[in-house]
């Protein structure tokens, strides 16, 4: 964490609202407006499967904070974005998360990748297999980075390091509802 910042003054991007909302009371599958007497989404007991999609994954990682600029999220710095999350066509349980370091010499890239990895490890069911990659051409040691981030043993070894883990937990402390509420 010491020494010169890799990118002291990064570009900030506008964020979008968590989810596209409909006018109040609107239900897409109904002709009628809801009268507001009951909470429709919670009393719906059909348990029809809703698959995990790009947006849901993005929701999970967008508010991780940047290790160099703690008060900004990965989304604000355009390190992650929804279109950079792709599912394997043949195997729905495989997905690739791509991220873009703000500068090609960013020494924090491994750490950012690791924080995405840990967040998804904690938040996705077992069956998912996640590939984390740097956007092609966005980092000078792209190949080494990709290899490091997808090596199970090295990820596990990194998580054994208490100092590293502490910084990681700090970056992850901004995810979740409490942080969302504070942002509003």
């Amino acid at each position: 964490m010491s020494g010169e910042a890799f990118n002291p003054n990064p570009i900030v991007f506008a964020t979008t609202k968590s989810s596209r909302s409909l006018p109040p009371g609107v239900r897409l599958n109904s002709l009628w407006l809801d009268d507001g007497d009951h909470r429709e989404e919670e009393s719906d007991d059909s348990n029809e499967a809703e698959a995990i999609d790009q947006d849901e994954i993005f929701e999970l990682i967008r508010s991780i904070s940047d290790p160099e600029h703690r008060n900004m999220s990965l989304e604000q710095l355009a390190v992650v974005s929804a279109p950079q999350i792709t599912f394997d066509q043949r195997n729905p349980d495989r997905l690739t998360v791509e991220f873009t370091p703000t500068v090609p010499h960013c020494g924090m890239s491994t750490f950012i990748g690791l924080s995405i990895r840990v967040r998804l490890l904690r938040s996705l069911p077992h069956r998912y297999k996640v590939d984390i990659r740097v956007k092609p051409g966005s980092h000078q040691s792209e190949h080494a980075l990709n290899k490091q981030l997808n090596d199970k043993e090295r990820v596990a070894a990194a998580l054994e390091n208490p100092a590293l883990l502490e910084v990681l937990e700090q970056c992850l402390s901004t995810v979740g509802q409490i942080a969302d509420a504070a942002a509003l």
Binding site: P10, V12, T16, L31, D35, S43, N47, L172
Partner: protein
């Protein structure tokens, strides 16, 4: 004298309180003097034996402390003072001597010369380090009293006093003493000539900065960190002479401190800088600015950042405060503000970068300092941003540039005086010189793209700047927004939200523009006929348009237009012209849904208006209500079996809300006229006074919803009747047939004639409302009729269970009507419900009703003029809760026991948490049993209750904390079970259980919950695979919280 000697001897032997009192009373009644006492004590006061001497002086001090001050003559005070001063020298007597001096110094006969003597003696003999806290406190008390009563005498001592006191106070550590020492120091700093002692005083005060004292738990002295901080703060800013010494110290603390220290330092600077004055501030301006800048550009947290911004403002104000009057018109300034502005402008050359944000924050902060600095800042930043926006090379950065500009406009607005009475003159509107270019740039930004949002923010700030934009310019802004809304931007929720917000803001002051240009646009977007069933996108479009109208039309003029246009639309949809209605098999449900949405829009705007207390709601009793009655009565009469749009019960239900909202705002007299027309229509088939509209009501058909052979579509209209009844003032007389017969009729009707939930609810609401407001004349009804009703409709097993359930529901409403007004007869009605708990068909329904009877509802409300007694829910709860707890614990019969549990959960759901919070220890085991009941609704509400308890204990250290902790392990396993889809099909329960698990780590100490951590994290992994998105979201949240949870 004899007596006194005896007393003294006894005291020396026993040290009893009584002896002191005896001596005091001797002195008080005049039979002895203090000098007599000294004589009596004689041998002890000078005894060679240490212990006897101590006791002797101690006794004297105790007696003086309790004696009335007027008994001490000038003479005796002087003798005693020199006596005590002499005793300060003696290690054995110093403590009782100090005690005596504390009392003596406060005496009226204590003179200034004594003060000097005492002070000198203190300085000479007292070694503070040798004394314990309470003894040192006495020294401070003596000095404090002397300062209060003999300040001039101490001043005359000059240097001797100051250096003497500083030596005494040096090294003090106890917070109790410091509190007093700080207040003494403040007096010295403010009132004494301290120029020779500045450094010493600086050392004895600033060495405590920043205060790091934390009171121990259960602190018996009640001294808080803030007490000390305030007392010290009052010293730090008491003299400008501290300035040169203090600023370097503050800078050092700011650079090296923890966030808390930084905040303390910034706060101290805020209060000290104005005192230290402009010249000190100017000397250290650069260094201060460099430190503050760091806190703003690389903030440790947002609170410190805010504090640093504030301190910057204080600094600028201090520096420029004096130079203000010289030249009003000049835009140029010198010094820090100029340098800082230039620095920020340099950073703002890259508006898209992260540093631009803090830079603009600083410039905005400058605008709230002095007029000249504000003028200068604005003259630097505004043209810069406008140029940047117009520079073709900066095209990609237009959005962030506008965002920054919006902040500037808002800051300029907030810097203006806020007195709403006075319209600011042009020279008081800082933005006036730049208005044209700013307005130009912002409206250009409205062209679709990422710059729309910041442009809207900027325009909002511009529009809300008082006295800035002309009416014509407002019209231009509205026109631009209309274009934006037409451009298909309504798809983008964020944008249309802010656009509407801006229009609403404008319409508050200039409704004409919105009503003339925006509204026609929106109305023309509403189709005359409902889009067919499969045209979802068109339906979504009209919903969006209606939602926009809802947002926009609260303003009286706009609402009037809205009502006219929507009523016309409603007529077209509900009673289409004959040419189009020919297709008999036409799908009318989309039309009904469309009409429903339109009515819903009116309800939403109306209730917002009622909430805001708008006076124009009243007039819609003539303009809106008759039209609605007309439409619905006409449709009911015309539909002989065929489906007419306006006969749909859902439409009736939403229309009834409009009627309630309007009627409740009327005066009692106006209601009286209205209710006559209402009764004429409903009871005597005379609709002329009530209904009014374009369609001709057929004369050959009769309107009689109370008739037993009335068609269901007419009976539905009872909802519109009840809607008006529920909103009546209690003074309003009900016309023929009068209250009693009417209630009988309604009750009978609800049992015999009502054939759907809408009708039954309508009847129950009307009954409850009449009963609540008019109990006086209804004792026969309450005593006889209800008894009969209970026997014939509820208890009897001859009626089908469904009918009995409905009767219980009506019963609940009547119970509620009485409970809410605190009528004791309500309790009798509740008693009957308890009797039913053993019933295997309706036992649970009765149990639910026990709680439901105090649930808040939309009928018996203050707005509807119901008679509501203060704290009725608490009273009710206090009376039934013990009974329920008893029943749930002791009942033999499991059916009965469960019914009690059901009653408990429903009661707890209905009343505020404070009512039962103190009972939680008893309730907890019962609630846990409630979680095993097979009813999902009950489980969910139990979990909600537990959640509320856990949430409140996570925010405070309340004692229910222990209750959650006590049951932690069983709660965890129950909640885990209820969150798994395999065991719990209800999504509502799963979500509730996960929310509880998510709160638990913040509600219970780590050491208690630690054993569960691994299990919870492992088990929740399974829940991450839940088919429902909402459940997964909660699971992720809960799991994240448990991961974070550590000791």
């Amino acid at each position: 004298m004899e007596a006194l000697q005896r007393v003294v001897r006894t005291w020396i032997a026993s040290e009893q309180e009584e002896e002191v009192d005896a001596a005091v009373s001797e002195i008080t009644n005049g039979s002895a003097t203090l000098l007599d006492l000294v004589k009596a004590l004689g041998e002890y006061l000078t005894s060679e034996e240490d212990e006897l001497r101590t006791k002797g002086v101690e006794f004297l001090s105790l007696v003086i402390g309790k004696s009335p001050p007027e008994k001490l003559s000038r003479q005796s005070v002087r003798v005693l003072v020199s006596f005590y001063c002499g005793k300060l020298d003696d290690t054995e007597t110093i403590i009782p001597a100090l005690k005596g001096l504390v009392s003596l110094t406060a005496m009226p006969a204590f003179a200034s010369t004594d003060a000097i003597e005492v002070m000198n003696a203190l300085v000479k003999h007292v070694r503070m380090k040798a004394l314990v806290q309470s003894q040192r406190l006495m020294v401070y008390k003596i000095v404090d009293t002397l300062l209060a009563k003999h300040r001039d005498a101490l001043k005359s001592m000059g240097k001797e006093f100051l250096s003497g006191y500083i030596a005494l106070a040096e090294g003090e550590k106890d917070p109790r003493n410091l509190l007093l020492a700080f207040s003494i120091a403040r007096v010295l700093l403010l009132d004494f000539d301290i120029s020779a002692h500045i450094e010493d005083l600086f050392n004895v005060t600033f060495c405590y900065f920043p205060i790091t004292f934390r009171p121990p738990p259960d602190d018996p002295y009640g001294i808080t960190t803030d007490d000390l901080k305030n007392a010290l703060g009052a010293c730090l800013n008491s003299t400008p002479q501290f300035g040169p010494l203090a600023i370097p110290l503050f800078l050092e603390k700011l650079a090296a401190g923890t966030p808390a220290t930084k905040r303390d330092t910034l706060k101290a600077l805020d209060s000290c800088l104005p005192v230290y004055g402009p010249s000190v501030a100017r000397t250290h301006a650069r260094k201060l600015w460099n430190s503050l800048k760091l806190e703003i550009f690389q903030p440790t947290d947002s609170v410190t950042e805010q504090a640093a911004l504030h301190t910057t403002q204080v600094l600028i104000r201090t520096i420029y405060a004096g130079s203000e009057s010289e030249d009003q018109s000049s835009e140029d300034i010198q010094g820090l503000a100029k340098d800082a502005c230039e620095e920020c402008i340099q950073i703002l050359r890259e508006p898209e970068k992260s540093q631009a944000k803090p830079a603009i924050k600083i410039m905005c902060a400058f605008m709230a300092t002095t007029p000249s600095v504000a003028r200068f800042t604005l003259s630097q930043v505004t043209p810069h941003l406008v140029r940047l926006y117009l520079n073709p090379d900066e095209l990609p950065n237009r959005a962030p540039t506008l965002g920054l500009l919006a902040d500037v406009v808002a800051a300029a607005r907030d810097s203006m005086p806020t007195d709403p009475e006075i319209l600011p003159a042009e020279e008081d509107t800082p933005l006036a010189p730049y208005k044209d270019e700013v307005l130009g740039v912002l409206t250009v930004g409205l062209t679709p793209g990422s710059s729309v949002q910041p442009a809207l923010d900027g325009l909002k700030a511009l529009v809300t700047t008082r006295g800035l934009l002309t009416d014509e310019e407002l019209g231009f802004v509205v026109h631009k927004i209309n274009e934006l809304l037409q451009d298909g931007q309504e798809e983008n929720e964020d944008i249309s939200d802010s656009a509407l917000d801006l229009l609403t803001t404008i319409s508050a002051s200039a409704p004409r523009h919105v009503s003339e240009t925006t509204l026609p646009l929106l109305f023309s977007a509403l189709p005359d006929r409902a889009p067919p069933r499969d045209a979802q996108s068109e339906r979504l479009k009209y919903w969006r348009t209606l939602a926009s109208l809802t947002r926009l039309c609260k303003q009286p003029d706009l609402f009037e237009t809205l009502v006219v246009r929507l009523l016309t639309k409603l007529d077209l949809i509900c009673v289409p012209p004959p040419t189009t209605a020919d297709a008999a098999g036409m799908d009318t449900e989309p039309s009904a849904a469309y009409a429903h949405s339109i009515l819903r829009t009116i309800v939403d705007v109306l209730s917002a208006k009622v909430e805001l207390g708008h006076a124009d709601v009243i007039k819609y009793i003539d303009r809106l209500v008759p039209r609605l009655y007309h439409l619905f009565i006409y449709s009911a009469l015309m539909s002989n079996g065929t489906y007419l749009v306006a006969t749909d019960p859902r439409l009736v239900s939403v229309a009834s809300q409009i009627i309630t909202l309007v009627v409740q705002t009327l005066s009692a007299q106006r209601q009286e006229t209205f209710v006559k027309a209402l009764f004429a229509a409903y009871h005597r088939d005379d609709v002329k006074q009530l209904a009014e509209g374009h369609q001709k009501i057929p004369t050959d058909k009769s309107f009689g919803p109370f008739a037993s052979n009335a068609p269901p579509v007419q009976k539905n209209l009872l909802a519109l009747y009840a809607a008006a009844i529920t909103a009546l003032h209690k003074e309003v007389a009900l016309p023929d047939p009068g209250e009693g017969p009417l209630l009988n009729q309604l009750l009978l009707w609800s049992v015999v004639d009502a054939d759907n939930i809408l009708q039954r609810d309508a009847a129950a609401h009307a009954i409850a409302s009449i009963l609540n407001k008019r109990t006086e004349g209804l004792s026969t009804f309450l005593e006889e009729r209800l008894d009969l009703f209970w026997k014939d409709e509820v208890v009897t097993s001859e009626r089908p269970p469904e009918a009995r359930r409905q009767a219980i529901s009506t019963w609940t409403w009547m119970t509620k009507a009485l409970l809410v007004r605190g009528d004791p007869r309500g309790a009798d009605l509740v008693d009957r419900l308890f009797e039913l708990f053993g019933d295997d068909k309706v036992g649970w329904d009765a149990a639910r009703a026990v709680g439901g009877a105090v649930a808040t509802d939309k009928i018996l409300t203050k707005k509807n003029h119901a008679v509501i007694k203060f704290l009725y829910a608490q009273k009710y709860c206090n009376s039934v809760l013990p009974r329920i707890i008893e029943g749930a614990k002791s009942s033999e019969d499991p059916q009965r026991q469960n019914a009690y549990l059901v009653a408990l959960t429903s009661l707890i759901k209905s009343v505020p948490k404070t009512v039962y919070a103190h009972q939680m220890p008893t309730l907890m085991p019962l609630l846990l049993r409630g979680l095993d009941l097979p009813d999902f609704e009950i489980r969910a509400s139990v979990i909600d209750t537990l959640l509320a308890t856990a949430e409140s204990s996570s925010s405070s250290n309340a004692k229910e904390n222990g209750i959650i902790a006590e049951h932690a392990s069983s709660l965890v396993s129950t909640m885990l079970r209820n969150s798994m889809i395999k065991e719990m099909p209800s999504m509502r329960v799963r979500v509730a259980a996960l929310r509880f698990l998510s709160v638990l780590p913040s509600a219970v100490r780590y050491d208690v919950l630690h054993p569960q951590k691994a299990t919870v994290i492992r088990e929740l992994w399974k829940v991450l695979d839940d088919p429902k998105k909402a459940v997964r979201k909660e699971a992720v949240e809960a799991r994240t919280n448990w991961y974070k949870f550590s000791g």
